[in-house]
Amino acid sequence: MSAFLQYLVTGVARGFLFALLATGFVVIHRVTKVVNFAQGAFAVLGGFIAYSLLRAGIPHGVSEVIAVLAAAAIGLLFGAVTILGNMSPIASLITTIGLAILSEAVAMIAWGTTPLTFSGIGGADIHVAGVYLPKQYLLLIGVSMVVLIVLWLVLDRTYIGKGMTACASNPYAAKLSGINVKRIGLLAFAIGGALGGLGGVLIMPLFPLTYDGDVSLAILGFAAAIVGGLPRPRARWWACLRDRRADGGGLLVAS
């Protein structure tokens, strides 16, 4: 029973990690039609930046927020490289692979090749009825859930969110209506970067990441996005939660 509870919590936590990555992936894909292979790089770079800020003595919370914002800025930059020219879909896909490789190189030079980790915000672990629960798991679940719900509300209810849907639905008509489709695409990339960075920041205290960890992260997020169906965000989130079982609990062994 206690083992079951423990698996449940860790499994759900992983599910939310995939959900963050997959949601970033899907927001970018829906709005810009770009298949973004650099999604995992946002997580690695975000996590590493948080690591360095914490090492520099900047307190928890502040470090993580700055890292997520930095990941959003990296997303924006990658978006600018990918969509501001008029590339064909295949060219933009290859561009994102190139950007992923470039960020691996940058991460390796700046942070080296050993796996990095930092202690999470949670502090002491919780033991409930013989179950060992790092608080970081609960933090990951709570923060991801809130962020995903807020994001969904923004996309579904606000005017700018409808504008993003409009760009995804019919870019020609969106442009005719005066929407700056490229700018909205950049916004999507920034959101994708922030979600990836958040995933990295939340997972690093639980699983040390290496500079090339982006590949496995990207593939798992990608898989969750495909299982959930790229065009249907709500179904996707369920898929992420189901998905945790599919990987047999062996997430991130690759790195």
Binding site: T165, A166, S169, N170, Y172, A173, A174
Partner: protein, 262 residues
């Protein structure tokens, strides 16, 4: 965009300032008949416009103009370049040469409606006001009472006629001075076309909205509009009052299916 006159669709502030047009008159019972008819103020002027797709020339030195408050038809066979012209007017493609000057705001109702299919009717309308100052949809529902009942429905699930109303409504949300409509009657039953035509005429009379109407159904277009241009493989081959074009033997032959039996 250098070829566009200042104060065109680019600026959000340009909408309300200068014309006093817009949809304000629609909700009230007393029609606001404007001064605009035949006032001689040009809202759109196109000079020697050339548009190419790669090496293929789609428009070759096209010139036309629309006066404020005027309804002008643009007719021509498939592939004549009508859609290309409207896309150039709305900035969707960049001309190779020529000049477009638009002294007001232009809104373009595209061929095939091009709605945001998975969004609601109301959202579609509101998105039309992306650059406008007001997102109030009530004037559109006053104009198309049918849409009021459909406000929450997915736009993609509507009938062709309803979709065309949404497309026109969405364009009107930008509060244009000139409405360019591509294929008003495409795929619609005659009574729906009549209904839409009545709405257009009412808009034109009550708000002074100028209309550039692209239409396959030349008889309909010439009946609705005072003046018309005939486009053929990228050239304007005829222009004049609709009444004259209706009597023109070559126009009858090419676009009206032979002379009218009266």
């Amino acid at each position: 965009m250098a070829f566009l006159a200042p104060g065109d669709r680019a600026g959000p502030g340009s909408v309300d300032g200068h014309t006093g047009l817009g949809l304000d008159g629609l909700g009230s019972t007393e029609p606001v008949v404007t001064k605009a008819l035949g006032g001689g103020q040009t809202v759109l002027s196109v000079e020697d416009l050339v548009v190419r797709y790669g090496t293929a020339v789609a428009l070759e030195s096209v010139s036309l103009n629309v006066e404020r408050g005027e309804m002008v038809a643009l007719i021509g066979a498939n592939g004549a370049g009508k859609t290309t012209l409207l896309n150039a007017l709305s900035g969707m493609l960049v001309p190779s040469a020529g000049r477009i000057s638009c002294s007001g705001k232009l809104a373009h109702v595209p061929e095939g409606r091009e709605l945001f299919a998975e969004l609601s009717v109301d959202d579609n309308l509101r998105l039309g006001a992306w650059k406008a100052t007001s997102r109030d949809t009530s004037p559109i529902y006053a104009l198309f009472p049918k849409l009021d009942k459909l406000a929450k429905r997915r736009a993609g699930g509507l009938s062709g006629g309803e979709q065309q109303m949404v497309a026109i409504g969405r364009a009107l949300m930008a509060r244009p001075d000139l409405l360019a409509i591509d294929e008003l009657s495409q795929g619609l039953a005659p009574n729906i076309v009549q209904e839409l035509s009545r709405h257009l005429i009412r808009l034109n009379l009550e708000t002074g909205l100028s209309v550039l109407l692209v239409e396959q159904n030349a008889r309909l277009a010439l009946g609705l509009c005072r003046r018309a241009y005939v486009l053929d493989t990228g050239h304007v081959v005829r222009e004049g009052l609709s009444s004259q074009l209706l009597d023109d033997a070559s126009v009858q032959q090419a676009y009206l299916g032979g002379p009218l039996v009266s």
